[in-house]
């Protein structure tokens, strides 16, 4: 199986580059407003709370809970069809349940995106971030915290 046809982010996108630079270092970093200190996701140029355009990118805990999940079946782009059916999860982060990320659930850090039996996935399950290299990008993925710790 190959992940070479996966859709990948533009690492030159100035709004999001610090996120992908952090994942390459094995860190989950989110944008934080320098004006009011609130974290925000997805990143953007202005803080909707205080309108500051200054921001920094602190590391967060990388822990959260499954907020929702779907199990994706064909028809799909060929690179993804190879792994179908596979689950996709939305994770809400421990720092603030309003901070969410879409991702894949895996059984081992470098495991395939279809490595977890969808029947074992539940909303509310604690998860922990791991990182997997796909092409020149390090994608954040999620493991059951019970399995990862």
């Amino acid at each position: 199986m190959t992940e070479s046809g996966f859709l990948l982010p533009d690492l030159q996108d100035p709004e999001s580059a610090p996120f992908w630079e952090a994942t390459a270092r094995g860190e989950l970093c989110l944008q934080r407003c320098s004006g009011c200190g609130r974290l925000r996701m997805p990143p953007r140029p202005m803080c909707p709370h205080c309108r500051s355009t200054a921001n920094e990118w602190p590391a967060v805990s990388g822990r959260g809970r499954i907020w929702s999940f779907a199990v994706v079946h064909p028809p799909l782009l060929p690179a993804y069809a190879e792994f179908a059916p596979y689950p996709v999860v939305v994770v809400e982060l421990d720092e603030d349940p309003g901070l969410r990320l879409v991702g894949n659930l895996v059984a081992t850090p470098e495991g395939p995106i279809n490595g977890v039996d969808p029947a074992t996935i539940h909303i509310g399950t604690p998860v922990r971030v791991v990182f997997a290299r796909v092409g020149d990008v390090s994608l954040p993925r999620w493991m059951s915290a019970a399995a990862a710790d």
């Binding site: 996966f6 859709l7 990948l8 982010p9 533009d10 690492l11 996108d13 999001s16 996701m41 997805p42 909707p48 907020w67 929702s68 999940f69 779907a70 199990v71 994706v72 079946h73 799909l76 782009l77 993804y80 792994f83 059916p85 596979y86 996709v88 939305v90 309003g98 969410r100 990320l101 879409v102 991702g103 894949n104 995106i113 969808p118 909303i123 796909v134 990008v137 994608l139």
Partner: protein, 386 residues
Amino acid sequence: MAQLIQDRAAIVGIGQTAFGKGLPESELSLACQAISAAIDDAGLRPADVDGLAMFSMENGREVEIARNVGLGEITYFGEVGYGGGAGCGAVGHAAMAVVTGQCEVAVAWRARKRADKGSRPWANVAARLGGAPQWSRPFGLLRPVDEIALLARRYMHEYGATRDHLANVALAFRKHANRNPAATMYEKPLTRAQYMNARWISEPLCLFDNCLETDGALAVVITRASRARDLAQPPVLIHSFAQGFGRQHQVMTNYFCDDPLLGPGWACAKRLWANSEIGPRDISCAQLYDAFSPLVPLSLEAYGFCDRGEGGSFTDDGALEWPHGRLPTNTAGGGMSEAYVHGFNLVLEGVRQMRGTSTAQVERASSCLVTSGEGVPTSALVLRRD
């Protein structure tokens, strides 16, 4: 005191092409045919049309429409973005234009060929993703159905909605399509067992939770209500119109706000009912945007037909079914069983209900709610019999 649209504009003509897959005509040709039919239906001439309101995603441009159909001098043209959210918006912009004197007679339309690459922006495999898609596509969340499946699962988890509720939606619309000879699914009944055994597309959504893939075009003609009363058809009054999206909304992947299950319909409904003399309780029937079945319970809640979390159970006991349900919905079959033309067919069915010419005609129907895409910046209309 604001001057509201409130019954001062009317839909006076409707036109549509056949629905199908792989129709030979171009989108521009389909658009021109539907617009031409709508002008004829109104008893007007192409030279009478001086306003155009369309979807931003439309491939045929205003000048091409005008050059082909032989329209007069155009003094208003505008477009509405966000795909399926734009239908009622285009009609509403046309209504605003005629009511404020920017034009006399306006046309709004949608023409679409699903086989056309431009019709499916999400199928465009760009080399690298910028903006919002980079936060979902790399993880295999590729299609609109996947994006809605995540919201559907959360909705079912929070409120106890079930696949049976989603089946209620699919089966009601299929029954209505089975009465409508123009519908794609006219001769194809659907049973609950077929629904439950259908293949998954994106769990918890199966094949029958998805809209059709359709080529076709539809158009409406709008003018001031005072002028409408001299034309060929009984005028269908535009009683209220609104657009909307909520705080921190993100198109389709609306997971990044405080309450993702409060979709754009909530903001739209507030304005719609504030500008209306009637409320959800007075509505005779509804045409609710149904690219995916879960959008229907979410819309029932957003537009005030039930409380939050009760959209699923609202569909029980045939509530959406003609003729006995408490809110006959998508009475021509909707996007799931008539045709999926970005929801514009819902506008035309609303007009037929107000004219008394639907194939699932609600008795003494006096008002109809029509909504556009939930999950994207949206729009809605309250239509009324004159």
